[in-house]
């Protein structure tokens, strides 16, 4: 697959000036499907709004922070992630069957979908472009340490890497290790240390005192 370009604003401006073939095709498609009565444009707006503003990696961050604070919840999450995560209100599409896998000082987990883009939507939202890209899908299984290096993550050679290829309808959440020096933080503050990438396994949680996750520098 080709890589996307950069800069939303620029592309959105260009889209308005001279519509790309995709813009015209999608417009025609939506018109016909609406005329046929198959789709309701208000439902399309609601779907986009949901994944833009309501369902995203902050959901998963709350799950992880709770597992760091509550040993009973952590046990439940590792035993029956679907039920434990649903108890926090996150369930459904592309997260029907959840498994949580825990990082330890000896083991680091990494999640990929080499065949398409399977990803736990209820807790992480839509997958980032890199997760869906050919380089990640090709290399994560064969060269996981090289992929981690692309994210600036270098693990000691003694840490084993466990790669989960999501080839069926099971979706994986990585439970990262709680950062050192975070003992004094509240569950809410801990959630701010949990990055999306740390829940896929391509990153580590932020250190206490760093700018909060989900806010780009």
């Amino acid at each position: 697959m080709s890589e996307h370009g950069h800069g939303h604003d620029h592309e959105q401006e260009q889209e308005q000036r001279s519509p790309s073939p995709e813009v015209l095709r999608v417009r025609a498609l939506e018109t016909v499907l609406t005329q046929k009565g198959y789709v309701d444009p208000a439902a399309l707006d609601a779907l986009i709004d949901t994944y833009q503003w309501k369902i995203g990696p902050r959901n998963g961050a709350q799950v992880v922070a709770r597992a760091w604070c509550d040993v009973e919840f952590r046990g439940w999450l590792l035993k029956d992630a679907t039920a434990a995560i649903a108890s926090m209100g996150y369930s459904g599409r592309q997260g029907e069957h959840m498994v949580a896998v825990e990082n330890t000082p000896q083991l680091h987990n990494l999640v990929v979908c080499t065949l398409c883009s399977c990803y736990p939507w209820p807790i992480l939202g839509l997958p980032p472009t890199w997760y869906k890209s050919a380089p990640y899908r090709a290399r994560a299984v064969k060269d996981p340490r090289g992929v981690l290096a692309d994210f600036g993550v270098v693990l000691p050679a003694a840490v084993r890497i466990r790669v989960w290829d999501s080839t069926a309808e099971v979706r994986y959440l990585v439970l990262p290790q709680r950062p050192a020096g975070s003992e004094h933080l509240s569950e809410r503050e801990l959630g701010n240390l949990v990055t999306r990438d740390s829940m896929i396994g391509t990153g580590l949680p932020l250190a206490p005192g760093a700018p909060a996750a989900g806010v780009s520098a």
Partner: protein, 220 residues
């Protein structure tokens, strides 16, 4: 039946760096969001299932040249024509020319949150006991079948160990081709890196798993 997936990328050489991305970057243009929503809304009509939509996308001849949402757009158009929901010419003209086909349901805005929260679970009552147990060694089937399947090429004909048993799930291979759900036991099968890549690749201290339905496996 001739069938070829262009989406099976795992373990292929020659790809460059992965480029990290900020959490709030979801779409590169508004049309991408619209394609996502149209795909989800059309999925709700019941005209096809998630496995047939994956099959429609992965078998696009120009899959490797397209961006992610270009694949989704082409896949959606293909499904609409295949299912008879749209007729040739309607897309080109941008208007409905033929009567609509009957659909099981139409997703309304008020129903979006509930539909997403419900999802489409794939676990089913098993028709018999699981053939394999935790810790058992198995070998994956070697031949690529001439239809949609979810056993990646890199994991074919390889020896691994059953690490998890997930119950019986809708079988993607048949479901994708409208041959029924035919639920099969689903397992996580773990492989050592040397089994998958041989001694030629520098060891990374890694192991890799796939989720495999029982028909993909034989005793090792």
């Amino acid at each position: 039946m001739s069938y070829r997936s262009h989406a099976d990328l795992g373990g292929r050489d020659g790809y460059g760096a992965v480029h990290p991305q900020a959490e709030e970057e979801l779409f590169h243009a508004p049309w991408e969001a619209r394609v996502l929503a149209l795909t989800l809304a059309m999925g709700a009509t019941g005209l096809w299932n998630i496995d047939s939509s994956r099959a429609a996308r992965e078998s696009l001849a120009d899959y490797r040249e397209l961006s992610y949402y270009q694949i989704w757009l082409a896949g959606l158009e293909k499904l609409l024509l295949q299912s008879g929901a749209l007729q040739a010419g309607e897309l080109e003209q941008g208007r409905s020319l033929q009567p609509a086909v009957a659909v099981a349901r139409v997703l309304r805005a008020a129903g979006v949150a509930a539909a997403l929260a419900r999802g489409t679970p794939t676990v089913r009552p098993p028709s018999g006991p699981a053939r394999y147990a935790l810790g058992q060694w198995v070998r994956t089937t070697a031949a690529a079948p001439p239809h949609h399947t979810r056993l990646p090429g890199y994991a074919r004909g390889k020896r691994g160990v059953i690490e998890r048993v997930h119950g019986a799930h809708v079988f993607a291979d048949t479901h994708a081709h409208n041959l029924g759900e035919r639920p099969q036991w689903l397992y996580t099968v773990m492989f050592d890196e040397r089994e998958l890549w041989g001694a030629s690749t520098a060891p990374q201290q890694s192991c890799i798993s796939v989720d495999a339905w029982e028909p993909y496996l034989e005793p090792a």
